[in-house]
Symmetry: C2
Subunit: 223 residues, 2 copies
């Protein structure tokens, strides 16, 4: 007979880092709503309450998970050209969101940001300032870029179907309860555009990103 004490002795002890790593992995696969303290404990071979020794509550854990995602994002260096730095950062953020879809919507609205998050913001502002943006212009540029980046993630990447689904089929299902000719423009849009092969989210993202970078560049040196 193996007692719980024996089990405890044989396993590697919990750390915040290990818990966060497993929690992120779990959320990547099943979404955040599938991440419960009990299931997470089970995966770590521990009772759920053990987690509360390392985290104040679930929100504390989620904060740490979000900060881990920030930690995966490439930081712009202060002496990089602002445009390439901002472009690279935007793409890096998008990639992190693609890996961790559950984090979309949490990255910019948490009450207690972690060190990676703060460092990230610090580096972005630092790069813009070093490139000659004054504070007001840096704020405008940052606001514009982040709104676009997170908005794109929200509106395009958290859609209720993934890459393996047939877009046309899903759209069909959405429109099915309504009269066939109720939304002619929408139907045309779907049939002529969205379900065309080769419509690529990444291309769409970079297209808009470059439009915005162009626009920011122009506000700096009006032609």
């Amino acid at each position: 007979m193996t007692t719980s004490a024996e089990r405890a002795r044989e396993r590697t002890p919990l750390t915040r880092e290990r818990v966060v790593r497993v929690a992120v992995h779990r959320a990547d696969e099943g979404g955040l709503e599938a991440l419960t303290m009990r299931k997470l404990g089970r995966e770590l071979e521990v009772e759920a309450m053990a987690l509360y020794y390392h985290f104040a509550n679930k929100s504390d854990l989620v904060d740490a998970m979000v900060d881990a995602v920030f930690g995966e994002i490439e930081l712009p260096r202060p002496d990089d050209d602002w445009r390439t730095a901002m472009r690279q950062r935007a793409i890096s953020v998008r990639e992190a969101m693609a890996r961790h879809r559950w984090a979309i919507g949490l990255m910019e609205s948490r009450a207690s940001p972690g060190p990676a998050s703060l460092l990230h913001h610090d580096a972005v502002i630092g790069n813009l300032r070093a490139s000659g943006f004054d504070m007001a212009m840096a704020a405008h540029a940052y606001s514009l870029l982040d709104s676009y980046i997170y908005g794109f993630a929200l509106t395009k990447m958290s859609l209720p179907f993934d890459a393996t689904d047939d877009v046309a089929e899903v759209a069909q299902g959405m429109l099915e309860p309504f009269p066939v000719d109720a939304y002619p423009n929408l139907v045309a849009f779907i049939t002529e555009h969205a379900m065309k092969p080769g419509y690529d989210l990444e291309d769409e993202f970079e297209y808009g990103l470059d439009v915005i970078l162009d626009a920011i560049e122009r506000t700096r040196s009006p032609s």
Copy 2:
């Protein structure tokens, strides 16, 4: 003694519309996580399970709530100038988000959009097409605008403080656990910019919106 039957006789019966109206109101005040079927039932003087006669499940109710928010947004008319129509729509969306902060993050990612949502998309595409945008350009413009609008709402309007809070105080609290000189650019940003009196979210929104509208206009008729 008043039986439950007597209570039932004296009250106006539930309708989907009335339930949604009260539910939206409730979520406006306490957020979506404060909206439970039991509390909603209590407010409607009904048992929680009565709601399941009118809605398949909670997700069905939330779908209806989101569609009610879409119903509050002004529709662009097909013959309006695209730029004024898009500008007005963007502001109308932003205002709806301000009234219903719980809806941010739900508007564009529901599996079963309601009629108001579909009508909204149809009208936006219809306006752009009538203004001479081809399908690909309409898609680019729509993607860019929606990403910005919803991203702005997500990053700026769902922050963990509202208009009555002292921004400087909240920011101070966020940075407090870390060394004072860890994030110099961020600190400069907060002190020099964000907490300046007169920094207005609405101004920031419209500034970025006009930058994007300019950029879209330019992609139509490259100078």
